[in-house]
């Protein structure tokens, strides 16, 4: 059974991902120190913390960009051994980036179609012939992509090159690309950075809808505390690469260590 299938068979509310005692450093600089937490199937799990707390590093460990010097990552019940990011995609983990990483030479549609990569199987020969299986596969995946386009309400920009889109829409297209992979675990790196209130509301709605409609488990990094507390089920708090809090939004909000970190007391 592949990791994706294993992940799919996990019950709602059971452990989907667990990181144990993760430590990561770059040339002596410690980015993460002994961080452990878990993500349950079907929840929205937020990672918060001040700038430089190691949030993005944590996401990069989860999706295989960084390989921690110490610690274990368990996904869908099995331990991972330094996989490449593209293997991780096939296991059902998708993500978006803090600084939008779209394919600027392509249209919205093509960007999201590219997100279907792991679901397309036709080999080069079939592609070269096109008529038949390749075209059929293309059309089938297009149908899926159109559902996502419809879901994200971006019909009007379907054929627009993404480079020409305003920031907020680019963010949405990037979410679309991640959704197109039909991920089991979706990692969102500051999905609302740089957005105005209205765009943030839209994005929050989309995130919650993703959870409801597709049953996707979501792990997100976000700076806007209001948003985090509104949409997440549980929150991990990192500071200086260490975990200083973990719990429901209410628990975290009232945790003295967290309050100190955010007010800067702890490091005075």
């Amino acid at each position: 059974m592949g990791a994706r299938a294993a992940a799919q068979s996990i019950d709602q509310g059971a452990e989907l991902l667990r990181v144990d005692d993760i430590s990561l450093s770059f040339g002596g600089v410690k980015a993460l120190t002994d961080v452990s937490f878990d993500v349950l199937r079907g929840e929205v799990r937020a990672i918060i913390g001040p700038n430089g707390a190691g949030k993005s590093s944590m996401l990069n460990v989860i999706n295989g960009f960084y390989h921690p010097q110490q610690g274990e990552v368990w996904f869908a019940g099995s331990q991972r051994r330094n996989p490449k990011p593209h293997n991780i995609a096939h296991q059902g983990i998708a993500r978006t980036f803090q600084n939008i990483a779209l394919f600027n030479g392509m249209s919205t549609l093509d960007n999201i179609m590219t997100g279907r990569f792991t679901h397309m199987k036709q080999n080069m020969l079939m592609q070269a012939f096109w008529r038949g299986p390749a075209e059929r596969e293309e059309v089938q995946n297009r149908e899926k992509v159109e559902e996502i386009i419809d879901f994200l309400e971006i019909q009007a920009i379907r054929k627009t090159p993404v480079g020409r889109l305003p920031y907020g829409l680019q963010k949405r297209v990037e979410l679309g690309r991640a959704l197109a992979a039909e991920p089991i675990l979706l990692l969102l790196d500051e999905p609302m950075a740089g957005m105005n209130v209205e765009e943030k509301e839209d994005m929050s709605r989309f995130i919650l809808d993703v959870k409801d409609e597709f049953g996707t488990t979501i792990t997100l990094i976000e700076h806007d505390m209001g948003v985090v507390m509104d949409i997440s089920d549980r929150v991990v708090v990192l500071d200086y690469g260490r975990k200083i809090g973990d719990g429901t939004p209410d628990e975290v909000r009232n945790d003295q260590a967290v309050i100190d970190a955010y007010l800067g007391v702890a490091h005075d």
Binding site: H86, T114, F117, F129, W130
Partner: protein, 358 residues
């Protein structure tokens, strides 16, 4: 202005993703194909075949190939000449080793052999990008030319060090050698080009093409989506080299007939093909054609004007040609980095919007 897209709507995705979604484009395309296959062979003469049409067809294949690698996958190669040489020598070895082999098969096999060599030289692309990679391909260029020069086995130990294409037939018509009819050579190349162009279009429009472009545009994001960078880059190298190899084989066997490797497949050939795709348009099938046509026609035109019209010596014409080519490259990079294809796209957009400006 001439476009009437109103009422041209799509009821299926198949209709939406076809190569020419506009009805008028489709009609123009079929008319062009019919003209190329049904009219040109009957009016073609030696001059047009050897000066314009056949080099255009063959170089269009090469530029399609390089465009797949550079335009679609974002990997700049300066080794095109070297890979064309691989195609040419593979073709020569196959023609001489298996005299009865169908010429079409020879050319395709030459392409596959070049693909294999391209794969080998593509391996560094996993670790290096940009002009670091360009330098690596330059290594391939020099090494390959040296190899074909220095290892006599490749030129069957001939005294001149040259390779000469023996006469071979295709469906009873001579395609190669001194007695080949221009119309036959033309149709042979045209058929191969048409098929390869369709395949290029098919590859670039689907999963593989998108993975190439994803690597080109943002390799980190591509990886996150599940695109294996090594496989993808190597596939681009292989496909690209296949095209270039086929072009090299045709360039040698159908077009020139005799080849001295350093002269024909030197670094300048690499640049010429690179210029074709820059002028034509990176990442565009149409651009490959436009660039090849431009780079083939422009010297002919210049020569006709300066040598034929004004009576200047040929070396002056050649120098001016160099200047024009170099100048155009710089101008295109400054003014329109996406080349003729972009100009065409913009013109088409304008025509679609006509009389409105936006």
């Amino acid at each position: 202005m001439f476009y009437r897209q109103a009422g041209d709507f799509k009821t299926t995705y198949r209709g939406d993703i076809q190569t020419f979604p506009l009805r008028q484009d489709r009609i123009a395309y079929y008319l062009m194909l019919a003209f190329a296959f049904l009219v040109v062979p009957f009016v073609i003469n030696d001059y047009w075949a050897s000066a314009v049409l056949i080099p255009f067809l063959i170089l269009a294949i090469a530029s399609l190939g390089l465009n797949i690698l550079t335009g679609y996958c974002g990997l700049v190669s300066l080794g095109t000449g070297g890979f064309m040489a691989v195609g040419a020598y593979a073709c020569y070895k196959l023609m001489t080793a298996f005299p009865d082999l169908n010429m079409m098969i020879v050319v395709l096999l030459a392409g596959f052999i070049t693909a294999a060599v391209g794969l080998l030289f593509g391996i560094p692309s996993l670790r290096i990008k940009g002009f670091y990679l360009a330098v690596a391909t330059l290594a391939a260029q020099f090494f390959l030319v040296w190899l074909f020069n220095k290892v006599p086995w490749f030129y069957n130990y001939s005294a001149s060090g040259q390779i000469n294409a023996p006469e071979r037939t295709m469906l009873g018509f001579e395609v190669t050698g001194a007695n080949a009819e221009p119309a036959v050579s033309y149709l042979f190349c045209l058929t191969i080009l048409t098929v390869l162009a369709l395949i290029a279009r098919n590859l670039t429009r689907g999963r593989i093409g998108r993975s190439w472009m994803a690597i080109r545009d943002m390799d980190i994001a591509a990886e996150i989506i599940g695109v294996n960078p090594l496989k993808t880059k190597l596939s681009a190298f292989a496909v690209s080299s296949f095209y270039i190899g086929v072009a090299g084989a045709l360039f040698f066997s159908v077009y020139l007939g005799a080849v001295e490797v350093g002269e024909v497949f030197g670094i300048n050939q690499s640049f010429l093909i690179l210029f074709m795709i820059i002028i034509g348009g990176l990442g565009s099938i149409f651009g490959s054609f436009a660039g090849a046509a431009f780079m083939v026609l422009m010297p002919v035109l210049l020569k006709n004007i300066m040598v034929g019209g004004l009576g200047w010596p040929t070396d002056i014409a050649a120098h001016i040609e160099f200047m024009v080519v170099g100048g155009l490259i710089v101008i295109f990079l400054i003014v329109e980095p996406h080349g003729l294809a972009q100009l065409w796209r913009v013109a088409k957009e304008k025509l679609l919007l006509w009389p409105f400006p936006h």
